[in-house]
C-alpha cells in the first residue's frame, strides 16, 4: 500500500527482518529475562555511590551547610552548579518527545522513552540541591503559596527563585504524565506477554487496564500531540527561568540578557550528550541495535552540533561584550581575558576545550557515525557543561568588586560526595528502569515499521512502491471458546471446499521426507505415549495451531524434544515443512522449549 511510502533515499530506522511480533519480543526481552552479571556490577557501584551521597546529605542536614566549602565570597558553588547541570541534562527528553513530535521526526520513537526517563531522573537529582541548600529542608514547604502561621506572609512572586519552584515542579510533573501515558500501551504489551502471575499483576496495575480500543488510541494520539504542544514552550521556559536566577541579579557576568536562549541551547546540548552516553551503552547491553541505530546516533550528533554552535556563539558574544564594555569588573567574568589567565585558567580552558573544540570534530561525518567516538565526545561534553556552570557561578563571584574579598573555592569531601551521590542515584534509577520498563516505545515503533523498516524498504525496492504489505495469513480455527468457523458447528456447506484444501495443505508429505523425518527424530528423540506426556507446543512463540499439527504429524509432541533441536534439526525441519523457512531458528524454539520444560 502506498500509504507507507517513504523516500528510498532515507536510511531505515528499524534494521533487520522485523515483524510486529519481533518488536514486542525484543522490547520485552530485558524485562522478561534475567539481569546479567554486568548489570549487577554497575548497579552495585551506583548504589554504593548513592549511599555515600546519602550519608553526605544527612551529614549536611544534621550539621548545617557549613560543612561545604563555601566562604563569604563564594556563597554558591557546587550545589547550584550541580543543580543547573542536572536540570540542563533533563532537557533533552522533553525536547525529543515534544519538539520532535511536533516536527514529525520518526527517529525520536526509538529514543524518546529513555530520554524522558533520563529527564525525570535528572530533574529529581536537580531538585535535591535547592532543597538541601535551604539549610532547613524540613521547612521546604515554605516555598509553596499556602496559608501559614505568620498571618499574611506569602511567598514572593517577584523572585526568580520562586519562579524556579513553579517551573521545575510543573516540568517534572508534566514530563512524568507525558512519559506514563506513553508507557501505558507498552506496559499492556508486557502484561499480556509475561508468563509470571506476579509480573502480570504488577504490569496490570501499571498499565491502568489499557486495552487498545480504537477510541483510546484516538484520544491517546490527541493527548500526546497537545502535551507536546504544551511541553515545548514549557521546556524552553524552564531553563529560561533557571537563567533568570542569574540574569536578574547585578553581579558582573550574571547580569546578561543573552542568558535565556544561551542557557536553553546549553541545556539541550548537555541533555543530548547524556542521552548519547546512556543509549550507546543501553543499545548494546539490551540488544537494541536494530532500533537505536547509527542513524539515530548521527541525528543526535547533529543536534549536538547545532546547539553546541549556539553555545559557542554565546561564549564569543560574552567574551566580546566583556572586553568592549571597558568595565574593569567585566575582565574577571567567566569569559574574559582575566579568567583565561587568572587563577581559574584551568576551568576556563576546560570549558573552551570540552564545549567548543572537541565537539567541532563532529562536523566530520565519519566521526559523527562512529559509535565509540560519539561516546567519548558525549562524555567530554558532559564534563564541559559541568565546567560551564562552575565557571558561571564560581569564577564570576570569586573576584567581586572588593579586591580584599577575592577568594577561591575549595570543595570539601561533602561537596564531592553529594555530587557523586546524585550521579549514583541517577544511575540506580536508570538501571532499575532499564530492567523493568519497556525502554523503547514499541507501539510507536510499530507504526513506522512499514515505512521505515529495512525489510519493508527492501520489499518496496524490489516490488515497487505499490506492493501490498499484507502478510500471508495463517488460517486456523480459534482453539478456545465457541468458534464460528469450526466445521460442522455453524456451517457445513459454505466452507466445505476451502477447508478440504486447507487440511490437504496441512498434510506433511511422508513419502517424500521419510528419511529426513527419521533423521530428525533421531536427533530430538522419539515420543512414547506410554511414558511421556504431550505438551502444548503452542506456548512456544512462533508455533501456531497449524505448526503444532505438523509437528505432531512428524512425531514431535513435547518441549523436551523441541529443546534438543540444533541447527541440523532446524535445517531438516525447514526442508520437511517448507512454509516457514528459518522461523524455528529465528525464534529460538529450542531455547524457549528449554525454559518451558523447566517451568513444568
Amino acid at each position: 500500500m502506498s500509504s507507507h511510502y517513504e523516500a528510498p533515499i532515507r536510511e531505515p530506522l528499524v534494521l533487520g527482518e522485523k515483524s510486529y511480533h519481533d518488536i514486542s519480543v525484543d522490547v520485552g526481552a530485558p524485562v522478561l529475562g534475567k539481569a546479567n552479571k554486568s548489570w549487577w556490577i554497575v548497579f552495585t557501584i551506583a548504589l554504593i555511590a548513592f549511599l555515600w551521597g546519602l550519608g553526605c546529605i544527612i551529614y549536611t542536614i544534621s550539621t548545617g551547610i557549613g560543612v561545604w566549602g563555601l566562604n563569604k565570597t563564594i556563597g554558591w558553588a557546587w550545589d547550584i552548579t550541580n543543580f543547573v547541570w542536572w536540570v540542563g541534562i533533563g532537557h533533552a527528553g522533553t525536547l525529543i518527545s515534544a519538539v520532535l513530535l511536533l516536527f514529525r521526526q520518526k527517529w525520536r520513537m526509538a529514543v524518546n522513552r529513555s530520554a524522558e526517563a533520563m529527564t525525570i531522573f535528572a530533574v529529581v537529582q536537580a531538585g535535591l540541591f535547592p532543597i538541601i541548600h535551604m539549610g532547613r529542608p524540613w521547612l521546604a514547604y515554605w516555598v509553596l503559596p499556602i496559608p501559614n502561621q505568620f498571618g499574611s506572609l506569602w511567598v514572593n512572586f517577584n523572585s526568580p527563585l520562586l519562579w524556579d519552584v513553579f517551573a521545575i515542579s510543573t516540568y517534572l510533573s508534566i514530563s512524568l504524565v507525558f512519559w506514563w501515558t506513553g508507557l501505558l500501551p507498552d506496559f499492556a504489551m508486557i502484561r499480556d506477554r509475561t508468563e509470571s502471575p506476579f509480573q502480570k499483576k504488577i504490569y496490570g496495575i501499571l498499565s491502568f487496564g489499557w486495552s487498545g480500543r480504537v477510541k483510546d488510541w484516538q484520544r491517546f494520539e490527541e493527548v500526546s500531540l497537545v502535551l507536546a504542544g504544551l511541553a515545548t514552550p514549557l521546556v524552553l521556559s524552564v531553563h529560561t527561568i533557571v537563567s533568570f536566577d542569574f540574569a536578574t541579579s547585578v553581579v558582573p557576568g550574571w547580569h546578561s540578557t543573552i542568558y535565556p536562549p544561551y542557557f536553553v541551547a546549553g541545556a539541550i546540548f548537555s541533555g543530548f550528550a547524556m542521552v548519547q552516553t546512556l543509549l550507546i551503552i543501553m543499545r548494546k547491553v539490551s540488544n537494541l541495535e536494530s532500533y537505536i541505530t547509527v542513524l539515530h546516533i548521527e541525528y543526535m550528533n547533529k543536534v549536538i552540533l547545532l546547539t553546541g554552535g549556539i553555545v559557542t556563539v554565546a561564549y564569543a558574544i560574552e567574551f566580546f561584550i566583556g572586553w568592549y564594555s571597558g568595565v574593569p569588573y567585566e575582565n574577571y567574568t567567566y569569559l574574559s581575558f582575566g579568567a583565561a589567565t587568572g587563577p581559574y585558567w584551568w576551568a576556563f580552558w576546560a570549558l573552551i576545550t570540552c564545549n567548543f573544540i572537541v565537539p567541532l570534530s563532529l562536523w566530520i561525518k565519519k566521526l559523527r557515525r562512529n559509535i565509540m567516538y560519539t561516546f567519548f565526545v558525549a562524555l567530554i561534553i558532559n564534563i564541559g557543561m559541568w565546567f560551564e556552570r562552575f565557571d558561571i557561578i564560581v569564577v564570576n563571584i570569586s573576584k567581586d568588586r572588593l579586591t580584599s574579598s577575592w577568594a577561591m573555592f575549595q570543595p570539601t569531601f561533602v561537596d564531592i560526595g553529594t555530587f557523586m551521590g546524585t550521579i549514583g542515584f541517577f544511575f540506580v534509577l536508570f538501571l532499575l528502569y532499564a530492567r523493568t520498563f519497556p525502554v523503547i516505545a514499541q507501539a510507536e515503533v510499530k507504526t513506522i515499521l512499514k515505512s521505515s523498516g529495512e525489510s519493508f524498504k527492501r520489499l518496496r525496492a524490489e516490488h515497487g512502491d505499490d506492493a501490498s504489505h499484507v502478510q500471508t495469513v495463517e488460517e486456523y480455527p480459534a482453539d478456545a471458546g465457541p468458534a464460528a468457523n469450526v466445521e460442522g458447528k455453524h456451517f457445513n456447506t459454505v466452507f466445505d471446499d476451502s477447508t478440504d484444501e486447507e487440511s490437504e495443505n496441512n498434510e506433511v508429505d511422508f513419502e517424500l521426507h521419510r528419511g529426513k523425518i527419521d533423521n530428525l527424530l533421531s536427533g530430538v528423540g522419539i515420543f512414547d505415549p506410554a511414558v511421556h506426556k504431550q505438551d502444548d507446543l503452542k506456548k512456544i512463540n512462533g508455533v501456531g495451531p497449524v505448526m503444532e499439527q505438523k509437528l505432531h504429524q512428524l512425531g514431535i509432541f513435547t518441549f523436551e524434544q523441541v529443546s534438543r533441536m540444533t541447527d541440523r534439526e532446524y535445517d531438516l525441519l525447514d526442508e520437511i515443512i517448507s512454509e516457514f523457512p528459518g522461523r524455528a531458528k529465528r525464534d529460538d524454539w529450542a531455547g524457549q522449549a528449554l525454559i518451558l520444560k523447566n517451568k513444568k
Binding site: V177, R191, V226
Partner: protein
C-alpha cells in the same frame, strides 16, 4: 438482551483497514476494534467522531491562567503589598511583568494535568482497572474487530468476515450488554 458478537482477528493493519471499510460498506455494525498500536486513519474508517479532548485542554488552560491571576493578585496586591526591589505593587497591571512566568507555568500545569486526567477518566484507565482486550495478542501483533451479530445470519456474517481476510473468527455470547 443477550448480545451476540463476532470477534474477527486480523494479523495485519492494512488488512484490518480494508476489512473495516468492507464491513462498514456491507452495513454490519463494528462495535469495537482493538489494535496493538495506533493505526493511522482507523478512527475515521470506523466512523468515530473526532475527540474533543484538545478543547477541554484549552479550557483547563484558561482556568489555570485565571487561578494564577487571582492567586497572585490576592497575595501580592490585595493581602500584603510589599516593596520588593522597587517593583511596583500598587496595581496588578503594574506588577504583572514579574508574574508572567508563573501565569504561564500554571496555565501549562492545569491544561496538561487536567487533560490527562480527563483522558484517563473518559477511557476508563486507572490503577487496578482490569484490561478488557478480549485476546492478549491484541497488544502484540494481532488486530481484533468486534462485530454485532444480533439480527444477522451468523453463518453469512462469518463467511463474509472470512472473506475479508480474518485469520480467526469466534462467536461471543454475552449475557449483559456493555
Amino acid at each position: 438482551m443477550a448480545a451476540t458478537k463476532i470477534h474477527a482477528i486480523y494479523t495485519d493493519d492494512d488488512l484490518l483497514m480494508q476489512a473495516v471499510k468492507q464491513t462498514r460498506a456491507a452495513n454490519y455494525h463494528i462495535s469495537e476494534v482493538f489494535t496493538p498500536f495506533p493505526v493511522h486513519g482507523l478512527d475515521h474508517a470506523v466512523g468515530l467522531a473526532p475527540t474533543r479532548i484538545a478543547i477541554t485542554s484549552f479550557i483547563y488552560g484558561l482556568v489555570g491562567l485565571a487561578v494564577a491571576v487571582l492567586m497572585m493578585n490576592y497575595m501580592m496586591i490585595q493581602d500584603w503589598p510589599q516593596n520588593i526591589g522597587g517593583k511596583p505593587s500598587f496595581t496588578f497591571y503594574q506588577n504583572m511583568p514579574a508574574f508572567i512566568p508563573i501565569m504561564f507555568e500554571l496555565t501549562v500545569f492545569f491544561a496538561g494535568h487536567l487533560m490527562v486526567i480527563t483522558f484517563y477518566m473518559r477511557s476508563k484507565l486507572w490503577p487496578f482497572k482490569k484490561a478488557e482486550n478480549p485476546d492478549p495478542r491484541t497488544t502484540d501483533d494481532h488486530f481484533l474487530m468486534e462485530v454485532d451479530a444480533d439480527n444477522h445470519d451468523v453463518e453469512k456474517l462469518t463467511k463474509f468476515l472470512y472473506d475479508t481476510g480474518a485469520s480467526e473468527i469466534s462467536l461471543i455470547e454475552n449475557e449483559h450488554d456493555h
